[in-house]
Subunit: 124 residues, 2 copies
């Protein structure tokens, strides 16, 4: 692979909440996404999900608490924990998660992107 | 876990090339390190190693090529590929790698840190 400079990659994203795969290591995918507004409540039964924020502020609502991630912050939503990401301003996030992770867990919504769609953006 | 704000975490690091574990997901560790100067040539036989730079510029010399990572850049050194990280100015990096990854591969040097040492810094 070549070096991936993340900031220019965000400029290629045209839709919110639609991740783009930018790298892979040990069966884990690195994805970037521009997000704004509300995502759907969901969980990943078998996979922890690591969030990092590069720009903006991401809220992660969980059933028993909520956290806020500012720039250069990291948080792991443990497998099985229902969560709803949301933010009021455009926010740039990085996700690290196993290849097997379904975008919206078992929820099928208009926001759901297949892994193929997440790779397809990679061809931009 | 709580949200980890990475930039303040770097301020707690007192030695170059000595990683600190800051998060874990799916058996992968997130580590931060301040680096400056030359690290040792080594490889990880079974693990890919993902580097991200937050500040500064990291050079990764490999046997057949070299790459340079600027801020917000990502690169994966595939398993088995010998590499030598180096940089002339203080650089802040993030590593994502399996728990099993040995710091300097099979090389035992004065720079080598055990996983316990990488966790011990976490207690700061």
């Amino acid at each position: 692979m070549d070096v991936v400079s993340l900031l220019p990659e965000y400029e290629t994203l045209t839709a919110f909440w639609s991740p783009k795969v930018v790298a892979e290591a040990n069966g884990q995918l690195v994805k970037i996404a521009k997000v704004k507004g509300d995502f759907v409540w969901h969980d990943h039964e078998h996979e922890d999900e690591l969030f990092m924020v590069l720009k903006g502020e991401l809220h992660l609502e969980m059933e028993d608490r909520s956290v806020v991630l500012g720039p250069s912050s990291v948080f792991v939503v443990p497998k099985g924990v229902r969560h709803r990401p949301h933010c009021s301003e455009e926010t740039w996030i990085v996700l690290f998660e196993p290849r097997s992770t379904a975008h919206t867990g078992k929820e099928e919504t208009a926001m759901t992107r297949t892994l193929a769609e997440q790779y397809a953006q990679h061809a931009d």
